[in-house]
Amino acid sequence: MFQYQESIAYDDIPVLPMEELARSVIERCRRSWRVVAFFGVPGREGTELVCILADASSRLLDAVRAVPGKRFESLTPLCPQVHLFEREICETWGVQPVGHPWLKPVRFRPQEGGNRALRPGPAETAYYRVDGPEVHEVAVGPVHAGVIEPGHFRFQCYGENVMHLEIQLGFQHRDVEHLILHSKDNLVLPLMENIAGDTAIGHSTAYCTLVERLCNVQPTRRAHRIRRLALELERLANHTRDLGAIGGDTGFLPTSAWNGRITGDFLNITSELCGSRFGRNLLCPGGVKWDVDSMLGEALAKRVRAAFRDARGSVDVMLESSSVLARLTGTGVVSFEDARALGLVGMAARACGLDTDDRMDWPLSALEQGPLKKHMRTSGDVLARTLIRSDELNDSAASAEADLHFLAATSGEEGCRTPMPSALPAGRLAVAMVEGWRGEICHVGITGKDGRWRAYKVVDPSFHNWSGLAMALRDEQISDFPLCNKSFNLSYCGHDL
């Protein structure tokens, strides 16, 4: 076990027999531990499986590994939260989880000239199917009516009721993890910012934090504050847009129209920080590239306040409309038990009553928490996910404004970029967990003997949460799918990597 801010030597991770690893993971997941990443690393005696476990109550991480050979006994029947990790391991490393209840491709497409049977393209797979008179199947996508990313959804319907929804993604697969290992150093950060375009700051924060933990470099408090400011601005923009989109899907015109404009206000504030509306090129390992001077800080604080006032008013109009509340209440419920078993993260998990928020559970810095609080709901429906967004708007705006005032007042007292060593230390592992606006972004990096990446694992919150959406649709009306989908608003490219 190790502290989450530290890196450990990769060779110190105990190599357990596979049964031992499975027992340890299953046993700890029954208590307060969670699997944050489970992936393969090429080793001398074949693929090593590394599992990173986290316990928020003691703020401890643990890493275990095993060398299972060609197959291993699947953990999924006893520990459902690893189901997608195991499917991923199977198709990436060819190690088969025997007894996996639903072994299907996650995202693969054939390599050039590869065997299509061994590596099928995205969504080329058998689908779960309900048979019977009056049961019908509706397939949506991967090409959609709106301008959104590709994903394939299959509904097994009985009349208007959905008995089962199956989600097949993978159309956006770019092999990001492979690219990270084999890119030039100056291309890695832009790659991170493009894992999920709407979470550029979240993913770049995770990457920078990971590199700093490996190199044992601590950025200045000012750098941490600018990072937190950027992360909250990203949250503000995305929550505002999502609340508008939820209004749009219920047919509630005013909020839908206004929030589109207000989202732009928040994005423009981010662009004043670094020149990109999505926060690209702001962070770098060791700190941030652009400081905030006192004039900019005060001006942006005013703009945050104004944009927040508009957003608050617009969202309140929606939340005070009884017709909207009637539409949202009780729609797309995910139970606490399902959310915990599937390992949901972030806002979707908090809407089901799960006590998880990486900003408080795994703080990135020693800065005071300020106005940021954990917001939880217990109903697990679309309304809960809407209200959590609405509550977080208040906190994020207050936090961003306070940080801007502080940065303006202390301008010039401290630098915001700490020099980094030229190479990564050899043979070490570190973990970075960042609460992006969707939820926990987890990056795990392992360096090789040459000080280059030996393995790099990215877990976007969407990776966990897509199965939450599938659960939300059980016994739900098919006409409520777009609304449920918007209430999760998951990333396709973050999942597909």
Partner: protein, 308 residues
């Protein structure tokens, strides 16, 4: 003279029919803080579509092509049975309300068949919804007719045609101690929103196929056939506006009543725009409850007229 006047009104209605759609869009745009598209956009759309080519799915038959034409023709025929601008229809006869209701029903039937003909799961879903909502809306419409007929017969007028029932008669009846007819305005309002697929029943502007009712049935149509569909639904909105106006406008001298009904149609379009701007859509399984509410109000009015 009456015939010529009626024809003039009829042509005017056919020409103005797409205008309310433009008014609704304009009102919604104002609520959203936008300039919105031009008031005449529905006309531009129809003209544009008429000049376009058409894509017809390989699996479809003549049913697919007949749907829009039948729907539009039956809507125009139904309009011809209504009293327009205070002038009785020359086609009026005792019991023509049944023909009117089933002309609309025929249009719906043709649209549903055309949707099923495509074989698309989306369109099948939309067809099933349209058929369900059509089936529950029909008895409510007849309850409204029956309540009016009941009132008319108890007031000693044997009116059994739309031209007699919706030509200022309801307002005269309120004045003669039949205030319960006011409730029918609410019922007709709900029917107008339901039959024309407006919020809170359906969202005509959504792009989400899974939530659509009417729009999803016409996804495969394009070009001139799409123009027929657009125009047919515009005429249908005009029909329901005329019925609703018939409940509120008293019998007036000639030019006044014609002007009042045109103004009324515009007002209704504005109201629909306001409703769409300030309300969210209902969950789909709640829609039957809304229609049920309208139906029970209509039944209540019918009972009141009968027990007098």
């Amino acid at each position: 003279m009456d015939l010529r006047l009626y024809l003039a009104h009829f042509v005017l209605a056919l020409v103005l029919a797409p205008l309310p759609l433009g008014i609704i869009a304009k009102v919604k745009a104002l609520f959203a803080g936008r300039h919105g598209k031009p008031l005449l956009q529905p006309y531009y759309d129809i003209i544009k579509l008429l000049r376009k080519g058409e894509v017809i799915g390989e699996g479809t038959t003549w049913v697919f092509l007949a749907g829009p034409v039948i729907a539009m023709a039956s809507a125009v025929a139904a309009l011809a049975l209504l009293p327009l601008g205070g002038v009785s229809s020359p086609f009026a006869f005792q019991g023509d309300f049944i023909l009117c209701a089933y002309l609309l029903g025929m249009g719906r039937f043709a649209t549903v068949l055309a949707a099923l003909d495509t074989g698309s799961p989306f369109e099948g879903m939309g067809a099933s919804r349209e058929a369900l909502f059509g089936a529950i809306a029909e008895p409510v419409l007849f309850l409204v007719f029956l309540a009016l007929i009941g009132t008319a017969s108890s007031l000693g007028e044997g009116a059994l045609s739309l031209s007699a029932l919706f030509n200022g008669f309801p307002v005269t009846a309120w004045m003669h101690g039949r205030p319960e007819l006011v409730l029918l305005i609410f019922v007709m309002g709900v029917l107008l929103l339901l039959e024309n697929c407006r919020i809170p029943v359906d969202d005509p502007t959504t792009h989400l196929e899974l939530t659509m009712i009417h729009e999803v049935m016409v996804l495969d149509h394009s070009g001139p056939n799409m123009a027929f569909i657009l125009y047919g639904s515009a005429v249908k909105l005009w029909i329901f506006s005329t019925l609703l106006i018939g409940l509120v406008i008293p019998p007036l001298p000639f030019p006044a009543q014609a002007a009042a009904s045109l103004a009324g149609t515009a007002c209704i379009a504005c109201l629909v725009g306001v409703v769409e701007s300030v309300m969210a859509r209902l969950r789909m399984h709640v829609v039957p409850a809304l229609v049920g509410l309208a139906g029970s109000v209509a039944a209540f009015v019918l009972i009141l007229t009968l027990v007098r």
